[in-house]
Subunit: 356 residues, 2 copies
């Protein structure tokens, strides 16, 4: 696991970039690809061929399904290199991709990463990205099995494809929610947005200052900043349910924020959603940030993206049994028969509805 060095990471990376700047053209793309061949995560039994041919090659097994997902990340849109260390960026893009695999209740096996690099970045910076990718691959027990490294004129663009497998009896779609199901969520929500709020505030205050280096003191915000910069996909949850005989009826990972993902479940399953907003798990650290910003912390949980927690629905009688297998989740609502309607119950005898 990568260590997160609060307060000094930015200083370290910005200094490093000045002292050891080997241009990518100087090394050449072929040599760059050779250099990063050691960062390939760990072998997975299904992967027959990783980097070094036209494709990665993996074995198929009768009765299993292949799950494939791809995402694209652009500098200035999806990440900001002012406050994102390169190795955290590498880690996070893998998390984002494998999280989609876990959301199908599948086990990720490989990722393929394509990076388009502008001239202003050095070989060392790229190495940091690959170190982050490698660390994530090791945490998720997968192989970096392919991709593409190419030049870019303006911005760093990264695309990540993740591939996993699941037995056909175990796959969980968004569409499986049943009337009466209990809606649950792992971990706590809004933390990634709270971290982003702090980082953006610190960036602005640095831009308005005359300091050369961006080196904010983030110690008291460590939990939320880490949620933003090096989020973890819920491998632990999927591993736990694989070891049990419990299968949620529907599942999705929290990428776009709770409300958006609940709407996806409602839409795909043709059902209504009732959400008990006081039950939404929010950490003390996230609450502290919202208080400091004079903002409504519920909004962080509702609309904050990139928490990468698992949102799932299960029949009510199974909730306790699941709690015995895995205890880092809470009940936040119920599936109803009011199609196309998301009802948010605030617990103060008030509720409001959103069309799905």
């Amino acid at each position: 696991m990568l260590q997160f060095c609060v307060g000094v990471y930015a200083f370290f990376y910005f200094n490093m970039s000045k002292n050891k700047f080997q241009e990518i053209q100087e090394l050449g793309f072929s040599a760059l690809i050779e250099k990063f061949k050691s960062y390939t995560g760990i072998d997975h039994s299904s992967i027959i061929k990783g980097i070094g041919d036209d494709c990665s090659v993996s074995a198929q097994r009768e009765g299993f399904l292949t799950c494939t997902t791809t995402e694209i990340f652009l500098e200035g849109v999806h990440f900001d290199l002012t406050y994102t260390p390169f190795h955290h960026l590498g880690y996070k893009i893998v998390t984002a991709a494998v999280s989609d695999i876990y959301a199908m209740n599948a086990i990720p096996e490989q990722v393929l990463v394509s990076i388009a690099i502008p001239n202003r970045y050095s070989v060392q910076m790229m190495e940091q990205i690959y170190m982050g990718i490698d660390a994530a691959c090791k945490d998720y027990e997968i192989k970096l099995a392919g991709g593409d490294t190419t030049a870019s004129h303006q911005i760093l663009s990264i695309s990540v494809t993740a591939v996993g497998s699941v037995h056909e009896k175990d796959i969980i779609y968004r569409k499986g929610a049943q009337k009466g199901d209990i809606i649950c969520v792992t971990g706590d929500l809004g933390g990634a947005l709270a971290g982003l709020r702090i980082l953006l505030r610190e960036k602005q205050s640095w831009q308005e200052s005359d300091q050369e280096l961006f080196s904010p003191d983030l110690e008291q915000y460590e939990v939320v900043v880490q949620r933003q910069l090096v989020p973890k996909a819920r491998k632990d949850f999927v591993d736990a349910i694989h070891q049990s005989d419990i299968r949620p009826n529907a599942m999705i990972d929290l990428t776009q924020g709770l409300i958006a993902e609940l709407r996806e479940i409602g839409k795909s399953s043709n059902c209504g959603i009732e959400l008990y907003s006081p039950a939404i798990p929010i950490s003390l650290e996230t609450r502290a940030v919202a208080d400091e910003m004079s903002e409504d912390v519920d909004k962080y949980a509702f609309y904050g993206g990139e928490d990468f927690e698992m949102l799932f629905t299960i029949p009510e009688p199974i909730v306790e049994k699941m709690m015995a297998e895995f205890d880092d989740f809470v009940v936040i609502g119920r599936i109803t028969d009011k199609e196309k309607m998301l009802t948010i119950n605030t617990g103060e005898d008030k509720s409001y509805q959103i069309e799905i």
Copy 2:
């Protein structure tokens, strides 16, 4: 198949972009994704779930292998929208991805496409890209099964992932070349570079002119310009060898140019390469462009990328048998035991060597 309208295509697209410009923000990304849901190629029996969940889902079969490849394409680096119609761009990115699947002797089943779109492009332009993707998916008999649509600040970035299957007895790697094998190539080479040369010349002459619209007369260059803008992957070749009992020992598609791909085969197979340069297939149209540019046409074939022809090696006794199954290929060389050496025999009692 998309029609290539020589001479008028640019005029048409540039005019369209002025008359019907619906901003993407105006429509919103969710609505954009909804709008393009009809452009999904054609169903493939293996694909259980396409767009609409966290992942695409495909069935596995015992004894089969999954081949996965991903590439990233950036505006200004990999394509130039001055002379590339959006639907040709859509077609070409699918060709580039499935070509890697064919190069493993696998059958492509699905592509996943992520597009990051800057504000200056319209909904109609994106629709043209998806129409091109859809047309390619239909030609290659595959499904557009997923992806990501997101905003971009500056440039259009597209990543494409292709997934295919092959029986384990049929897979062909780069590493399989054997001493004495005959080296063959399908179609003809250098055409895509010849087309690029013409398009760049016309662009420059337009930039130096005072014309508002880029509408070059490309009629006499139709063959090579089409090779550059809407290249075809060699589905026909892979289909033909699948219907026979012939299997090349090594295979690769021509993305980076002949010399680069021969070096890949030599390096992966630990063998030497002898190339008979007079045997390299070059079309009359490509020769005409090289003549017009006063350039050496052999260089077009050696170093020109994106021809997407298949380069393969087979034992000598099988060459004639293969010719009976599929006749659009020629012999261009031989695998030798001179490891790490590529010998180019020019046929005039001269030869020179390149280290692999």
